[in-house]
């Protein structure tokens, strides 16, 4: 009974803490703007299949390259598809791929980093050399190679993105683990005879979680940038999937007279990336982590 009370109390505290953090984030205008943009995109992505006025892949020669009007709010593209429909569905694609990609990146990057920081020694040296090597291969080359050999389905893209954006998290998680590893509570946990697993789960993760989450939020925006760049280059999701990068690259050749079909996805993608960036910044500040001096690795 008593233990129950304690866990309930803990859970309430956690919720309250999360709410506190959200409140601090929203207290500054940049954080509020970021949060509302991200919220707007998430809600739109969830609702988009129900509010999309047209079929995203319905091709029609009668409606090619129409200017924005009451029927087609953002006009139509070169195949006669409704740009508004494709833009709101494009957000769904981008958010799904990058959300699951970031999740994978956070999991493997965070756990490997914590493990290396805790174990140290030879294993740590070898893993960090390999991570460094992967860091020095430009992401675009590696991603392009994987995608061109394994195909462009989302089942390939999500793990590939997750893997490539996780290697930076390894370094952050390792550095954060190094910071806590010398603290007294770890030493005493070791003295009590706790196993490595138990120390990682009970002592280290609660203490490095903030740093890793902030890094993950930042990676999310870079991953979105990387994913849409891939689509733009023709190596991301394949047509006719509605996707912003793909839409921009398709409409780019015609933008001298049909600028609407390129502007809508540009606004969608830019606003989401800026929103995630502002949110990540506010998140870092709310948790008291300064990442303004970090390079985008």
């Amino acid at each position: 009974m008593e233990t129950n009370l304690i866990t309930e109390d803990k859970q309430k505290n956690k919720l309250e803490k999360a709410f506190e953090i959200l409140k601090t984030m929203a207290s500054k205008p940049s954080g509020l703007i970021g949060l509302s943009i991200v919220l707007f995109h998430v809600v739109l992505a969830l609702l988009s299949p129900y509010i999309a006025p047209y079929d995203y892949k319905a091709i029609s020669p009668n409606t090619m390259l129409l200017a924005p009007s009451a029927e087609h709010w953002f006009g139509t593209d070169s195949l006669g598809r409704d740009v508004f429909t494709r833009t709101i569905l494009g957000g769904r694609t981008a958010l799904t791929v990058t959300f699951f990609g970031s999740l994978i990146a956070l999991l493997w990057g965070g756990l490997l980093g914590i493990f290396c920081g805790l174990v140290g020694g030879k294993i740590d040296d070898v893993v960090m050399r390999v991570v460094d090597a992967f860091l020095s291969i430009p992401w675009i080359l590696a991603m392009l190679l994987i995608v061109s050999l394994l195909g462009t389905s989302t089942e390939v893209l999500i793990p590939a993105l997750g893997f490539f954006y996780g290697k930076g998290i390894v370094r952050v998680a390792r550095a954060a683990t190094h910071d806590v590893i010398a603290k007294d509570f770890i030493v005493s946990a070791r003295a009590r005879g706790h196993s490595n697993m138990s120390i990682i789960w009970n002592e280290i993760i609660p203490n490095v979680r903030d740093a890793i989450l902030v890094e993950g939020a930042m990676r999310w925006s870079w991953m979105l940038l990387g994913f849409s760049s891939l689509s733009f280059l023709g190596f991301g999701v394949s047509p006719p999937t509605p996707d912003w990068g793909l839409m921009i690259s398709n409409a780019r050749g015609l933008m001298s007279f049909a600028y609407w079909s390129v502007i809508a996805p540009i606004v969608g993608l830019s606003s989401l990336i800026i929103g995630i960036n502002l949110t990540a910044d506010a998140f870092a500040k709310a948790l008291g982590i300064d990442r303004s001096t970090k390079a985008p690795v």
Partner: protein, 318 residues
Amino acid sequence: MLLLILKRIGLGLITLFIVSLITFVGVEVLPGDACTTYLEREAYGAALDACIKRLGLDVPAYERYLDWASNVVRGDFGYSLSGEMPINEVLGPRVKNSLVLASVSILIGIPLAIILGIITALWRDKLPDIMISTITIFSMTIPEFISATLLILIVAIWLGWLPGIVIIPSDATFYELLSNIILPVVAISMIMTAHMARMVRSSVIQVMASDYVQMAILKGVPYWKMVFRHVLPNALLPAINVVALTIAWLLGGVVVTEVVFNYPGLGRLVIESISNRDLPVVQALAIILASIYVGINLIADLMTLMLNPRLKSLQIRK
């Protein structure tokens, strides 16, 4: 000191060695070898045999790796399948073009970033800072292909000031290049400047809050003398490393920018070789781009060491 430099160079070489292993093993492990990948549906009979012989795919993988690696060390990257010529001949003009683009962007970007960073730091939270910081956040976060596309749409199509894409052969002369690279340079240096200006800003702000700057203010050093003598040398030093990382990170963005503007540099070669499934060229590019990354970081590390006497006596752990 010398030991430290040697250690850094050694670490860089080890990193490059691992990169070469990763690219080689990666190509081996992924389905299809260089020949079947390149020839696709025509991968049978005489054509396949000729290709296998050309690349020497009939010997074991470790022998091929040693062969390839020793050739790369001597500066020979092998044979391009799609170009039907040695990779070095394909690379030559591309490296030159990319170098021109990168160096012009860096020459414009770094001084501009330092100036903007100082302005935003000294007028922190005032109007100049708010305006410049907003612009830098925008140009930092928006993907390269979007800012490049918008530049073309506005400057080339709506205003008609400059040509929208670069139409020059890859072996164009230096002068031809310069007159064509204005828009690509703007697109690249915009993002680079934004990143670096933010770092200079936070670095200057940190130094301004330090004890020795307070001391200088208290003993009555004139404001601008304090900024140039006490703040800047200390603020710009830690920024060097970060600037290097930013430049290296931009290698990926340069690929996209070169494609948007149709610029015949290394970046477009990346896309071309991957579309043509020309794996020997992809391997060569991986090694070259990774060397650039390692090299830039090494130079930055050494520069910080040279410029900061305090670090000379310290063991730096990394």
